[in-house]
């Protein structure tokens, strides 16, 4: 019983990286918009870089999600 409970707690704890990913995504898009409003003509050229940053940041959150699922489904 304790093992099951520990697993569920662990799966819950493994979703904490989502908080960091949320902060990171907010920073990326917020800063991109700040820059884009200041200099709209340069915005289009930097969209790829922005999306790259988005993808790399999102990955940290998804890694937490994957580990959570791995614990829940007991795939090891």
């Amino acid at each position: 019983m304790e093992v099951d409970a520990a697993k569920l707690i662990g799966a819950g704890l493994a979703t904490i990286p989502l908080a960091g990913a949320g902060v990171g995504l907010g920073l990326i898009f917020g800063n991109f918009l700040t820059g884009a409003f200041r200099n709209p003509s340069a915005a289009a050229a930097n969209q790829t870089t922005m999306l790259l940053g988005f993808a790399l940041t999102e990955f940290t959150g998804l890694l937490g999600f994957t580990i959570s699922i791995l614990i829940l489904l007991e795939i090891f």
């Binding site: 999306l51 790259l52 993808a55 990955f59 994957t66 489904l73």
Partner: protein, 263 residues
């Protein structure tokens, strides 16, 4: 009438064989996953066949869409890799379209009452599929990198313009970063599709259980229903974005292989 039972949200990821085949001891059955890959690939081929059958100077609707897709990937490749990247265009274009179509086809709702084998299936929601795509990309990067630059490809791990002492720290970091590329490519696509579809089916399950509860609860069922619609819209965005991100990252990694010696 179909039962209003809330199906297990994991049920949609089950791989069900449709035609049982085996090659010696290897199981090569046609599964629902394979079927949806064939459907996706077939749809792409059919679309481009239809789009290029009667090409005109002033393109029609189908031809325009094909041209937009072509130019989109072509510009992406030119911006990230440069003119030397032209030879990778077929690969990146195929990769982008295949992932896009696989993601989109997974969002088609299954017809109720169909047997499990024929439910819509998102092929990209399986790590085996996305990891195969990512390994293909990274294998091309490594083989082309060594073929083009020789041992100069290893400069990728030791960027120039750094104090020599820093290499002790920098080379392992670059090495780990390079080795984690296929994993991050694969897990990003897989986890996005997997998580999105679980959320979608969870909301759909709430609707089912609220409808079955009866009374005032039946009316509240509209809330998760609207939620499911919103999540579906979000999933369309994610499906397109993830195909784009996969293509962009493939281009950036190919750029490393093409210009490794300039580092």
């Amino acid at each position: 009438m179909y039962s209003l039972r809330a199906a297990d949200p994991m049920e949609q990821f089950e791989i069900v064989p449709i035609v049982n085949l085996s090659l010696g001891s290897i199981d090569i059955s046609l599964t629902n996953s394979a079927l949806w890959m064939v459907i996706g690939t077939g749809a792409i081929i059919l679309f481009f066949f239809a789009a290029t059958r009667r090409t005109a100077l002033i393109p029609g609707r189908t031809q325009s869409l094909a041209e937009v897709l072509y130019e989109f990937v072509s510009n992406l490749l030119r911006d990230t890799v440069g003119s030397e990247g032209r030879k990778f265009f077929p690969y990146v274009f195929t990769l982008f379209l295949w992932i896009l179509v696989a993601n989109f086809f997974g969002l088609i709702p299954s017809l109720p009452g169909l047997p499990h084998e024929l439910h819509t299936f998102t092929t990209t929601s399986h790590l085996a599929v996305t990891l195969a795509l990512a390994m293909l990309t990274i294998t091309i990067v490594i083989i082309y990198g060594f073929w083009k630059n020789g041992l100069g490809f290893l400069k990728l791990f030791a960027p120039s313009g750094v104090p020599p002492l820093m290499y002790i720290l920098l080379v392992p970091i670059e090495l780990v970063s390079f080795l984690s590329r296929p994993l991050s490519l694969a897990i990003r696509l897989f986890a996005n599709m997997f998580a999105g579809h679980i959320i979608l089916k969870l909301f759909a399950g709430f609707v089912g259980s609220l409808l079955a509860a009866g009374g005032a609860l039946t009316l509240i069922g509209i809330v998760p229903f609207l939620g499911a619609i919103a999540v579906t819209a979000l999933e369309f965005l994610v499906a397109a974005l993830q195909a784009y991100v996969f293509a962009v990252l493939t281009c950036i990694y190919l750029n490393d292989a093409v210009h490794a010696a300039d580092h």
